[in-house]
Symmetry: C2
Subunit: 435 residues, 2 copies
């Protein structure tokens, strides 16, 4: 038989079981919180018709898509969960109820150039709330409230959800009547390097009035508490409807986020957050781990005016956020920020003698019936090898069962971490784990 | 903008949220039971190197594989979870601990001709226990014990796990010194049609001794309780080591399955079960719903001598079983055998007035903190529309919150199924759901 060297493709994460358990617990935290807030699960196919999945076309993403032909069908692998959501919402429109609050957790595929920290297969965990025609601003607060609950439970350390509203920046620039907001932003970006006076000079050169230059300088200097920022924005007296609406929306989102119980220390207004995608039209979010800003945003999203323009003329606005769990997990592992406690499969491992296997299985069945995850080591071998197995699997308690234990109904429950052993009846053991 | 008609590929199951909730609950039951018995999760990539995944080559399966080239790499989509398990076990050999008890739940891909009841993307839910060199027979009983727990919890009606051992049939035929067991089986299969005498005649024609013909007729007539079948097998006095070992193994597996608490009514010895794959070498399993034999086996598997001969010269025997959930779910839906109770996402939907939205969100936050899944309807519109939404989403309780309710802390909790309404304080509501 020819032996083929077994290996995976580069850029595909594959974990050992002990890390997989940790990863799955994070997935469970995410799903539990999504459902607690009333988001409904969907599970779209990994493969879709290429013409449907790539209806938008163009851009960097398309180059990365895994695409192939089977028979006469052009097939593409999903590269995100948003395009499938748009397709799903339109295809099943008459069977859905709006606002349609959906979550999806699944793998997506991008054939990027392999590089450290980049994955070609990775988990996306998305929530979106889709309206039929319109959708209330409360939803703009609910999404970050869900993300807040999740990251509190992840316990990776202090984090901050940064919120902004695209209408503010767009409206503000419109009110300044600048020809190219990109050019203005490029000049403003140099503020730290060249100082206020040089920035003003350069803005003057491209034809901005001194009044507008002052407004712009005031705008980019705005900072402080949420109330201070909202006040300062109002005091700019910017005469643009988008701007005014953006400020109003932002104020409402802050109010509702507080009502959802999001701790004020864990979110702020950040006028610098814009999100690259032209897709977003209102509220936008990015989330940073305070002690690890270098990771970039660990959960982002925003509000959009129209989810599915490529599939329907119905207007479906929505708002959503997403966690890219594969990359986040890999970073958290590198930084050793993942708490290991509670990440186990089995509570007890039973180690029987050759002659007590059958009775030991009966005891295992009783423990499992009581909800205690139990495994059994039935291979032959020396005791040392068996305890080594228990250790390697991080199982906290070992229960050695010989003839004496069966006769007396007194079992030695050995704590594998401390080495301590308690002498307990089967009923005592069940009691101990029920607590 | 060009509108593309949104649709999925044929042969890909996609569910509405209410069905997805049910499907996910089944997945959760499976995973919970796998873990309760100490199986560890792994999650291999959907895409693998074609040369690795198709190392075995040939056969019907290879034609169905989705295979493509990206850059210069030949890539294949996994078509089962067994080949990836073999690759994984060898690749991570030095980091694993044997017996390696792993489970994997994930989608696999087969580009079959589309037909009713066949899927090109479907969930496999697999458990396997892999030994390094050898593995105890207890594991042959544990696999069906896990499957038993799962199907009891599924509650699809009475089912029976049929077990057999390949060594019995193989050894028996060897002892008869027949040239072609296929030919003998073909003749034996005609028993019901042509009667015993004609079968004997045909066997005589192909050169079997009358002594062996009698043995064969006795063998295929064996039936009864597990003890009766085992007794009858022993009384055949078949002088073949494989046969004797097979009977011994089968007897041990029955004993251990009983120890695991598998109800005798739910499993039997079925000497007709062989499993097509030449892969299996010992215990084999098939599972049937008693009232729906026409569905075929809903969970199958068996013991094999060598998991990963294509990747290593190490001998790794193992035993495993599998549930093909996508097909099973689709059949259970057709037969309306899926219990809907307990399959919900939200316990309560809050319906606020325009003026009570903020306070209502605070109440929602309190309910969620108490572990009650709660959603809120904040779109404007008439009350009827809001209740219709609650109904459509199958949410059992609606909580309308106006100014009066907030002032008095007395809320009308409306049971959407019965129409009854209870007047309760927030604390009462939390109490009610904690029970």
């Amino acid at each position: 038989m020819t032996i083929v060297k077994p290996s995976t493709l580069p850029g595909f994460m594959e974990l050992l079981p002990k890390d997989q358990v940790v990863f799955n617990n994070l997935l469970d935290i995410i799903k539990k919180n999504f459902e607690r807030y009333g988001f409904l699960p969907i599970d779209t196919p990994v493969l879709e018709k290429a013409e449907v999945l790539l209806a938008k076309g163009g851009g960097e993403t398309e180059k990365q898509v895994y695409e192939f032909t089977k028979g006469t069908t052009d097939i593409a692998m999903r590269f995100d969960l948003t395009v499938p959501l748009a397709r799903y919402t339109v295809e099943h429109f008459s069977d859905l109820h709006f606002p349609f609050k959906r979550y999806q957790v699944g793998k997506v595929y991008r054939g990027e150039r392999a590089q450290k920290g980049r994955y070609r297969e990775f988990y996306q965990c998305d929530i979106d709330i889709i309206g039929n025609g319109k959708i209330s601003l409360v939803n703009d607060a609910e999404c970050p409230a869900v993300i807040y609950s999740i990251f509190r439970e992840f316990d990776f350390g202090k984090f901050t959800i940064h919120i902004n509203n695209r209408k503010i920046l767009n409206g503000f620039f419109k009110s300044l009547e600048v020809k190219s907001s990109e050019e203005v932003m490029r000049i403003v970006d140099k503020l730290d390097k060249i100082g206020v006076d040089n920035v003003k000079e350069e803005l003057d050169k491209i034809g901005m009035s001194s009044e507008n230059i002052e407004k712009l300088i005031s705008f980019i200097g705005i900072d402080g508490t949420k109330e201070e920022i909202l006040d300062a924005l109002k005091k700019l007296n910017c005469d643009n409807e988008d701007f005014k609406q953006g400020v109003e929306e932002l104020e409402a989102v802050v109010k509702y986020m507080r009502a959802y119980g999001v701790d004020d220390d864990y979110f702020n207004i950040d006028l610098k957050i814009a999100r690259g995608l032209d897709y977003y039209t209102g509220t936008v979010y990015e989330t940073f781990l305070d002690d690890h800003r270098e990771l970039g945003s660990v959960s982002s999203g925003g509000r959009y005016d129209n989810l599915a323009g490529y599939y329907t003329t119905n207007l479906m606005p929505g708002v959503g956020m997403s966690i890219g769990l594969t990359r986040l997990f890999s970073k958290m592992q590198e930084l050793d920020l993942i708490k290991k406690k509670g990440n186990k499969v089995s509570d007890i491992i039973i180690i029987p003698m050759e002659s007590t296997i059958e009775k030991s299985i009966e005891i295992l069945a009783k423990l499992q019936k009581a909800g205690i995850s139990t495994t059994i080591y039935t291979e032959s071998g020396k005791m040392g090898k068996k305890f080594k197995y228990a250790d390697a699997l991080d199982i906290k308690y070992a229960l050695v069962i010989g003839e004496n234990e069966l006769e007396s109904n007194v079992f030695g429950l050995k704590n594998m971490e401390t080495g301590d052993q308690e002498e307990l009846s089967l009923e005592d053991i069940i009691d101990k784990f029920s607590k």
